[in-house]
């Protein structure tokens, strides 16, 4: 009993001193993002996860930080499977590649349209592309260029996927 109390006191002291290595999160406050749509508007990078989750800023980091700051809850990228870059934001792929919040197996697409993140996630779940962030990273290390699959957006929320 004495040892258990000592252990509990040590754990409490560690938490109070801010030495815990992990941040606690309330599961109810998590805002899971299934797909991210990255574009550029008025010279600013915009990152949209659907359901009103939007962040903007001059850089990738700033846009992601803005997305986190403007929502009530924790944006959860553990469930993100797809990142769609609009043609005007294709240069941000390199920044996404270095972002630890995204899993290396996240699939990457290019689009000329303005897809809704949630609709695109539903389509891409059934028709996944073949290029992931880690594929791009591996190709970059070998100084090779990766051709991203193209997500075409039609009227009425219709999509089509093309390999280049």
């Amino acid at each position: 009993m004495k040892k258990l109390l000592l252990l509990a006191a040590a754990a409490a002291l560690t938490a109070v001193c801010g030495l815990l290595p992990f941040e606690g999160r309330e599961v109810g406050g998590l805002l899971p993002v299934r797909a991210l749509v990255v574009g550029r508007e008025n010279g600013e990078l915009t990152v949209s996860g659907g359901d009103g989750l939007t962040g903007r800023g001059p850089t990738w980091q700033a846009a992601m930080d803005n997305l986190k700051a403007t929502v009530a809850g924790d944006v959860f990228y553990g469930s993100t499977c797809d990142v769609i870059f609009r043609v005007n934001a294709a240069d941000a792929v390199a920044d996404a590649m270095r972002d630890n919040r995204l899993r290396p197996a996240v699939r990457v697409y290019l689009t000329a349209g303005r897809p809704d993140a949630e609709d695109a996630a539903d389509f891409l779940r059934a028709h996944p592309g073949g290029v992931t962030l880690q594929d791009i990273q591996a190709a970059a290390l070998e100084r090779k260029k990766t051709e991203l699959p193209v997500l075409a957006c039609g009227s009425g929320g219709r999509f089509a996927l093309y390999d280049r």
Partner: protein
């Protein structure tokens, strides 16, 4: 509870302690070089077993140094071995943060690992062996789960043999780690040491095949923790799962086990050097020294740690056994 331990427990401890370094250093090395390193290590262990068999059974591994080099030479060698052991313990302790790359793991995670390892080593070598015998099963199960689901993403083209013989250096140092464990006691016949060694070899090769098969050799080599990166991409039924949590748990348990081995070894060497040390003082002295070196060890180059392992867990035991068996003849 008895104070003795079996050869099987010792082998299980060696495997459990070897898993974290094997995952870290073999995952990014192409599988042919992992197998080459294992073959070289197997030849080394055959030599050690042959030489050890020619010495009297009652002669403990640490006493071999005095028997081979005399009182002064033996004491100096044991002193150097103690210094190396606490430095290696500090490096292993500090390296436990690599099990949690996405968290602010320092200093809490290393301190918790050091405390748990000291508690085990403080109980004596039998407790350390029992710890290894118990932990090896969950560690293997966690790792097997991550590896089994990771095979789904393996691309056969990535597994074409590549690299050079220099890539075998890291895995070879990893395969020498059990040599440090066997300093606690010589392994007797019938403990299944060959089976345990083959299990370790299979595991290291499987880590290499799955990690490089998923990531490709260049990305695996460029990554600080290739196995963790691979486990972050494991998906089941098309949905990405948090398998990296399993990898973190397995690596942390294995590292704690390795740390306990090093502290027990430090305690044994300390007792041999200073027989006046109280029975429980050896492990505490080693743990305190490792704690003091925690902030210094990042400045030690990796090559120093590599060569330290090769000399103190490979070259030195081989030479000491060779000299001791010649003296006996």
């Amino acid at each position: 509870m008895t104070d003795d331990f079996s050869g099987r427990q010792l082998c299980a401890l060696a495997l459990c302690a070897m898993i974290a370094p094997a995952v870290q250093y073999c995952a990014a090395v192409p599988w042919p070089w992992v197998l080459a390193a294992a073959a070289l290590a197997a030849a080394y262990y055959i030599y050690i077993a042959c030489m050890g068999g020619r010495l009297p059974q009652h002669l403990e591994p640490t006493a071999v140094a005095r028997f081979a080099l005399g009182r002064t030479g033996g004491a100096m060698t044991l002193g150097l071995a103690w210094l190396w052991t606490v430095l290696a313990a500090a490096a292993v302790c500090r390296g436990s943060v690599s099990a949690f790359p996405d968290a602010r793991a320092f200093p809490l995670v290393p301190l918790v690992a050091l405390y748990l390892a000291w508690r085990a080593a403080d109980g004596g070598e039998a407790v350390v062996c029992r710890t290894g015998g118990v932990l090896v099963l969950p560690v293997l199960a966690l790792l097997a789960a991550a590896l089994a689901f990771g095979t789904k993403n393996v691309t056969a083209a990535n597994l074409v043999p590549s690299g050079s013989w220099r890539d075998a250096a890291g895995p070879f140092a990893v395969f020498l780690l059990p040599s440090g464990v066997f300093a606690l006691r010589r392994v007797e016949k019938g403990s299944g040491a060959v089976g345990w060694f083959l299990t370790g070899t299979f595991l290291a090769a499987a880590c290499s095949v799955v990690t490089i098969g998923c990531l490709g050799a260049p990305l695996a080599a460029a990554s600080e923790n290739a196995f963790y990166l691979m486990s972050k991409s494991v998906s089941v039924f098309g949905v990405m799962e948090r398998f990296e949590v399993l990898a973190s748990a397995a690596l942390m348990l294995s590292r704690t086990c390795l740390l306990a081995v090093l502290l027990a070894q430090g305690a044994r060497l300390g007792k041999e050097l200073l027989p006046v040390l109280p029975p429980r003082g050896g492990a505490a002295a080693a743990a305190l020294a490792a704690f003091g070196l925690l902030w210094v060890v990042p400045a030690v180059p990796t090559t120093v740690l590599f060569w330290g392992g090769v000399v103190f867990w490979g070259f030195l035991p081989a030479v000491l056994l060779g000299v001791a068996s010649l003296k006996k003849v």
